[in-house]
């Protein structure tokens, strides 16, 4: 596989006020691959993910230096249309965050704001997205009930479905399977592999086996630094850095 580069990150630094959360990150994310980000809690994985669709813009005091190019376009340059950037770079957040609306309206929200009004078209999108996120069978008879009544794992899948409904180019997933049982997890993993045929996926996970199972490349973060970034087999079988090996074998973290 010698895919072309989808996202190119150069010398990326991210600060929350005076605290530097990311230090000089360089990374090339390949098109139509799954890139996994691993590392101990608080090392900056979510922060990095949020730099890729400019969600950090919403945080007061957050500041970014460096370059993030998506399809050779620097998304931090002046005049970038952040709204269409976020449509193109979808995100599943670490905490499930369904709207206090019905299941149906949650999924239809994205398509609606992007101008799809036709009811049957929306029905189609809702069904397809829910099937893709392995939630359809459980909710198909209660699409009108509140999404807040779903269980945590169901909410997580709902948020995946909601992100899929917008048909992004790149999908950023922050621990999308943290509250899922093994069956749902493996369905989500299968889904990601399917999606990777057409989408570029970046996933944060605390589950080493999951990273090894599904990803093409893995990046290991530690205290705001990208310690190592390589093909997943390399990271898991013969990592170049001692720190990576220590982390993967569970000797710290």
């Amino acid at each position: 596989m010698n895919n072309k580069t989808k996202v190119k990150v150069e010398n990326l630094n991210c600060f929350y006020d005076d605290f530097q959360a990311l230090k000089d990150i360089n990374m090339e994310i390949k098109s139509k691959e799954i890139t996994a980000l691993i590392g101990p809690s608080g090392c900056g994985k979510s922060t990095f993910l949020r730099c890729l669709n400019r969600m950090n813009d919403l945080i007061e005091g957050a500041r970014i230096e460096g370059i993030v190019c998506i399809d050779d376009y620097d998304i931090y340059q002046n005049g970038t249309d952040v709204v269409s950037l976020r449509k193109k770079v979808g995100m599943v957040f670490q905490q499930p965050n369904p709207f206090p609306k019905s299941i149906y309206d949650n999924i239809a929200y994205g398509p609606r704001i992007h101008g799809i009004k036709d009811r049957s078209r929306l029905n189609e999108i809702v069904e397809k997205s829910l099937k893709n996120s392995a939630l359809w069978e459980e909710v198909k008879d209660r699409l009108d009930t509140s999404a807040l009544d779903l269980s945590g794992g169901q909410q997580q899948r709902l948020c995946i479905a909601r992100a899929l409904a917008v048909e992004p180019d790149i999908l950023l997933m922050d621990e999308p399977a943290s509250a899922l049982d093994p069956v749902a997890t493996s369905r989500i993993e299968d889904l990601m592999k399917d999606l990777a045929e057409n989408y570029t996926i970046v996933i944060v996970t605390h589950n080493m086996q999951q990273a090894a199972r599904i990803s093409d490349r893995t990046g290991f973060f530690l205290m705001g630094e990208l310690i190592e970034f390589d093909r997943t087999e390399t990271i898991f079988e013969k990592p170049a850095q001692q720190k990576t090996e220590d982390y993967i074998t569970g000797r710290f973290g």
């Binding site: 969600m55 976020r86 957040f93 965050n97 609606r112 917008v166």
Partner: protein, 291 residues
């Protein structure tokens, strides 16, 4: 020793709470006891179905409450027409759009607005808004329904704005993030996520503002012209329930039908504001459970 202290403190707060309830019930009982003779002498049906209020008529006094109730409602409705869009829009602006600088000026300003005595506003109604209305609409005078509505709108504005603002800024950040993350812009996020999530709080704020407007006396008394007849349009002078009580109660002889009738008006007013407040309370409760 500490136990004892704690017990005393608890007692103290309990007594305070009981006192408030006691006062409320006391007022209610007083109103009912003093209105009862009015209902007996005038007749319940007569009281509610007639629009004619003329306690000093030589041909026999008339005690119909309809024109007053209608006047109170129409002035309040007009006030809401002004205060709701303005208040909610201001609230949304303060919490979602304004930078910290503007916010720090706007919020206290609105709170100061709440502190303006209603008699001062009534004065403004007479010397500023009245002549303005007269000039704009080509009337001989401007003491009428819209004048009252404008003043009441101004008075309800702080309540609606600051409570709506609380509700809007209480909308969890994660909902906004979810919306922005899907590529929604600010406006879409505000209209489709933030306001619906804050809706019960906003409605409660409107109800409270409305409760205040219905019960307000001095400003409407000064600004609406106080003609007791049924108003025909928004340029008519009218007289609200509150104004009627305020104008007549000082001069009425004790224990006459007229005296009791004014208590009956007060009772109806009390029930109306009580219901409005109750509804807003229920809505607020529901809102808190959702969160």
């Amino acid at each position: 020793m500490n136990r004892f202290k704690e017990k005393m403190i608890r007692r103290f707060f309990q007594l305070n709470g009981l006192f408030v309830i006691f006062v409320l019930i006391g007022i209610f009982v007083l109103l009912i006891r003093n209105s009862y003779p009015a209902f007996r002498e005038i007749g319940v049906w007569n009281f509610f179905s007639s629009a004619e209020w003329n306690p000093t008529s030589f041909t026999g006094p008339k005690y119909g409450i309809l024109a007053q109730v209608y006047s109170s409602l129409i002035v309040t409705f007009g006030a809401m027409l002004i205060a709701v869009p303005l208040g909610v829009a201001t609230a949304a602006y303060i919490s979602e759009v304004a930078g910290p600088g503007v916010k720090n000026i706007l919020k206290p300003t609105i709170e100061i607005l709440a502190g303006i005595p209603s008699v001062v506003l009534g004065f403004m109604g007479i010397v500023v808004i009245g002549p303005l209305i007269a000039r704009v609409f080509n009337l001989n005078q401007g003491l009428n329904a819209i004048n009252g509505s404008i003043l009441l709108g101004i008075m309800a504005l702080p309540t609606i704005t600051s409570l709506s603002e609380d509700a809007i800024s209480a909308v969890a950040k994660k909902y906004k993030e979810a919306s922005y993350g899907l590529g929604a812009n600010r406006w879409q996020t505000l209209v489709s996520v933030v306001i619906p999530s804050a809706l019960s709080g906003i409605i409660a704020s409107i109800m409270l503002g409305m409760g205040r407007a219905i019960g307000e006396t001095m400003a409407v008394l000064m600004a609406t012209g106080n003609s007791p007849a049924m108003p025909e349009n928004i340029f008519d002078s009218l007289r609200t329930m509150t104004a009627t009580i305020a104008i007549e109660l000082g001069e009425v002889p004790f224990n006459t039908t007229h005296y009791y009738a004014l208590f009956a008006v007060g009772l109806i007013l009390f029930i109306m504001t009580f219901l409005v407040n109750l509804v807003s309370d229920i809505i607020l409760h529901k809102y808190q459970e959702v969160d």
